[in-house]
Amino acid sequence: MTARGAQGNEVVGPLGPTYPAISFETRMDSVEFRVHERPHIVVDDTICRDCSVRGCITACPANLFIPTSDGGILFNYEQCFECGTCYLVCNEEGAISWSYPEGGHGVVFHSS
């Protein structure tokens, strides 16, 4: 399949260009997050430096795990779906401390 979209370039299907893909930022802007000041997920990226799989990078639907040039992981919890994908795919014990945000905070869906 030829489509791309994460970077916001045009989606080209087998029928030719169909419609402009939305950028990842626009995609995430469609979601409401009631951000709490305490991060509910903390990534210890000293452990990530020894990780060969780094599954979180492609699997996190919110694209919150960003590899840094020095082999670490940059993580920000603010636009998190609280889905659980990251701790399930992470194979390094202790890299991710995962909990739910304080009651009333975090993602709020409206039309899903």
Binding site: G8, P20, I22, S23, T26, E32, E37, E102, G103, V108, H110, S111
Partner: protein, 286 residues
């Protein structure tokens, strides 16, 4: 119960009104009604002030009866009393301030400090703090971004235009309005939250007399946008000149969404401003 002397005024609003992307019409949300961060900060400030001064705090909301449950949940975080003043916001700009002042004044709650959120999400006129202060004859300290709730004279920092700040000290009766960042509302303890979830009875409901429609603020001044010089039309007859001036027959470009790099977006915005005449084109005099 001793007289409450510090009140927080909060407005029940749609925290997440939707916009239908297909029609661009606003859609009220079904589940997202509540109180804005600024209003929640106002309640926290009222609670801290009351603790520091050894008095009681009361939370007051002018709004429809449906707000009672949300107000009960909000009140679980600590104020001694919660009062819902039944009021329809559609009654006109400034009317909420008037009914609130009626309840806060000497004949009812008799408070001497009122704390409001500086801005509501409810697209109101923003006049409540000023109208309340006017009717109660209180001083105003509005748009506060920092506040020391300690005992004695109250010192606070106010936001002014152009990133300037003003330090104010407040003595005696006053209306304060605070930004959401001033304080985070404490969480309701489990027992109080559970009780509030079971019944909203703790919220007193005050009905304003429908026969005494709230008095409107005396002078309503319309908002005037800053002027922009428009060249005189050169058409021959009056009709064409009016058409040219009002742009009535001109094509209006519908709103459009564009995506691109920040540089591209900036260039598009500048170009649009030039098209509208807000910016000079290169080599052109404004």
């Amino acid at each position: 119960m001793s007289e409450a002397s510090i009140a927080a005024c909060v407005k029940w609003v749609d925290l997440h009104p939707g916009v239908d992307p297909a029609t661009a019409l606003p859609e009220p949300s079904a589940h997202s009604w509540g109180f804005s961060e600024a209003d929640r900060a106002a309640l926290e400030v009222a609670l801290r002030l009351a603790e520091a001064r050894g008095t009681e705090a009361v939370v007051v909301c002018a709004g429809p009866l449906e707000a009672r449950r949300c107000l009960a949940e909000l009140a679980a975080s600590g104020p001694a009393r919660a009062v819902l003043v039944e009021h329809d916001h559609q009654s006109g700009p400034g009317t909420s301030g008037v009914v609130l002042a009626g309840v806060l004044g000497p004949r009812h709650l008799d408070v001497d400090l009122v704390v409001c959120g500086d801005m509501s999400n409810g697209r109101g006129s923003g006049s409540v703090p000023a109208v309340v202060a006017h009717h109660l004859g209180f001083a105003q300290a509005l748009g506060l971004i920092e506040l020391d709730p300690g005992p004695g004279t109250l010192r606070a920092v106010r936001r002014l235009d152009g990133a300037r700040r003003e330090v104010v000290s407040v003595d005696g009766p006053a209306v304060l309005s605070v930004e959401g960042s001033v304080a985070a509302l404490r969480r309701a303890p489990l027992g109080a939250a559970t009780s509030a979830a079971m019944t909203s009875e703790a919220v007193e409901v005050v009905r304003t007399d429908p026969h005494h429609a709230p008095e409107r603020p005396t002078r309503v001044v319309p908002w005037r946008p800053p002027p922009r010089a428009v060249p005189a039309p050169h058409e021959a007859d009056a009709f064409s000149r009016i058409v040219a001036l009002t742009g009535a027959m001109a094509d209006h470009s519908p709103p459009r969404s564009v995506e691109g790099t920040p540089e591209m977006a900036a260039e598009l915005i500048l170009e649009q401003l030039r098209t509208w005449g807000y910016l000079a084109r290169d080599g052109e005099q404004t």
